[in-house]
Amino acid sequence: MLNWLIWLIPLLPLLGFLLNVFVIRQERQAGLVASALVGGSFLLAVVATVMLGGMPEEERRVQTIAWEWIGTGTLSIPFGLLFDPLTSVMVLLVTGVGGLIHVYSIGYMHGDPRVVRYFAYLNLFVTMMLMLVMANNMLLLFLGWEGVGLCSFLLIGFWFERKVASAAAVKAFVVNRIGDAAFILAMLAIFSHFGTLTFYDVEVDGQIIPGFLAQVPNLLGQTFGPEWQTIAVATGISFLLLIGATGKSAQFPLFVWLPDAMAGPTPVSALIHAATMVTAGVYMMARTEPIFVASPATQSWVAWIGVLTALIAGTAALAQWDIKRVLAYSTVSQLGFMVAACGMGAYAAAIFHLLTHGIFKALLFLGSGSVIHGTHDTQDMRKMGGLRTAMPTTYWTYLVGAGALAGIVPLSGFWSKDEILAHAVSAGYWPQLIGLFIASLLTAFYMGRQVSLIFFGTQRDPHYHAHESGQAMTVPLVILAVGAAIAGLMNLPTLFSGMPAAHLLTDWLKPVLHEEAGKFNPLLALFATLGAVGMGYLGWSVYTRNAAKVKVGGQDPAYYYTGDIWDTLEAAWYVDTLYQRAVVGPFRSIGNFLAQVFDPQGIDGLVVGTGRFFGWVATGVRQLQSGYVRMYALVFTVGVVLVLSFMLMIAW
């Protein structure tokens, strides 16, 4: 029964996409149909998860193959879905948060001329994300992987009249594509070494299609590359997968596209750039965990990239004025936490943080959306201030979200972040621990700053009259706020012996990730809470005390202390400008050189040149017919002499 049920989960949003593209023209219907279908697939997901739960622990994996997607030579890749605990958790997140965001969009996007197309794209996105999460082989995962990349291109560039939006859309797609190139290379290597791309063995009408995850151990000895520098195959594959993940989950080298992606509508940022798409990289790493575990070299790379990203993004978020860019950098930073957790082997903690982050970050984005909506599309925090009286529900839900993100005790953020830090302590990753701890302090500070800038002090820009958003927007906010508060219960560490519902998620994921729950570290928890509350209060107080200093379009009060460093932070350590100057500029000039000079003159010159050469030789020969009879006689005689001497030579 579960076999055909899981097919319905991605098909419903696909149906929504097709309806919106070909059938529905009217805005009202589009919104309702889209949200209803995603809601429907959420219910199906819940039912499927319950049924999965019912099955005994060790065979909690359902795989169905629809048809053979690519079948040529030794290459045989099925088009099939997989449903196991890890997938179920992700599907619940995607469809749950996605559904709420669809409802929220009905309110937010009301009155936009192309809203029907918007919902079509959103549904297509959910379908692709579900395909990504439920694929039973790497290639189908890659189909979802690039599909979500395409949808983020369409949705970021939704208001394509704006130059900024279209540029950001192209940038997002291209940077993702760089990661995807590495992903393709990894897939090629996996297939050449294992002969299959499916994750686990699947039995199809009689014969078994082998899965490659189980065969990873026999990969250990093999190496490739030139003699002088042989690289272990496992390290090579996992490193390529890491590059792919950094591209999609906006990690250190390739995170430049995420802040620019804020040019898209806010619900898009919430769904794609906070909850679902960016987590695809972490999910992929969790799914292909055996390969990463098989090469410790890559694991340390993963951990350090995570920590580095967390620090860079954390510091960058301090110095942003755009409300959404703060959240964007904070997402990058939190993703850094998850990647670092994967690097340290705490995959369950990474998934736990992924889920809680998905909820409270979506809440924060939707909150910021309601703020933007309420203040007639102003995104600059310097123009806001004192909105807590005008928008109470948004204020309170935003506060809950901010608290969860900062890691204040009862809220979900604390539990998931603490789990990661606890694992760092118990596994002895001291340098990474320090980096992550500083990052969590930064998180608390900039959330405090943001809350005080938006909701406290007085309204700095008189041009708008702030008003609370409508029902369609506030209801999802409240639901998410509740979710953010209680999400921590999913994976409470064993606070006291014999605690009933301790680390539910870790046990749920055991058939996939085979991890035991780490024990609770009270000292660390104390330090973390103190840091979070302290820095949060500090951030809040700095910006409420000298709220007067903050002028519309003016400098940040902290500029007095930091000076130019503030600009560096705002530009995220100039990584983007580095790429602009070091990569895009030379690429354009090489392109122009090849197109204007090398091709038309170089290669074409050779071709046309040979033509002209024969012309030149012809004119040379024409000179010989000079009209002088004596010259002809001479040539004649020369001919005779040559022939006779040649014959003489032969006779000799």
Binding site: R622, S626, G627, Y628, V629, R630, A633, L634
Partner: protein, 100 residues
């Protein structure tokens, strides 16, 4: 009895002088004369070998050569006169209208 080789050597010498005459001299008439000389050289060699082989065929050949030479001189000189009428000169280099 003078060995045939001497005659052939003489004929070679005469022939070469004839060729030089054709190549070097620019007066059309002298060129014609040089051609005649070359023909004679050939005749000489023919007769020499005819005697050596005791075959009269060689001499018949010379006979034909002479008749052809006569025809050739007639036509050549007629041409020369025609050209002289229009170009007022007998220098071959002036006559170079047919150029590539």
């Amino acid at each position: 009895m003078v060995p045939t080789t001497f005659y052939v050597l003489l004929s070679a010498a005469l022939f070469t002088i004839g060729v030089l005459g054709v190549l070097i001299r620019r007066n059309a008439i002298v060129v014609f004369m040089s051609v005649e000389l070359m023909l004679n050289a050939a005749n000489l060699a023919l007769v020499a070998y005819a005697r050596e082989r005791l075959a009269v065929d060689g001499q018949v050949l010379v006979f034909f050569v002479i008749t052809v030479a006569a025809a050739e001189v007639a036509v050549g000189l007629a041409l020369l006169v025609a050209i002289f009428k229009s170009k007022r000169t007998a220098d071959i280099d002036e006559v170079s209208m047919l150029r590539g």
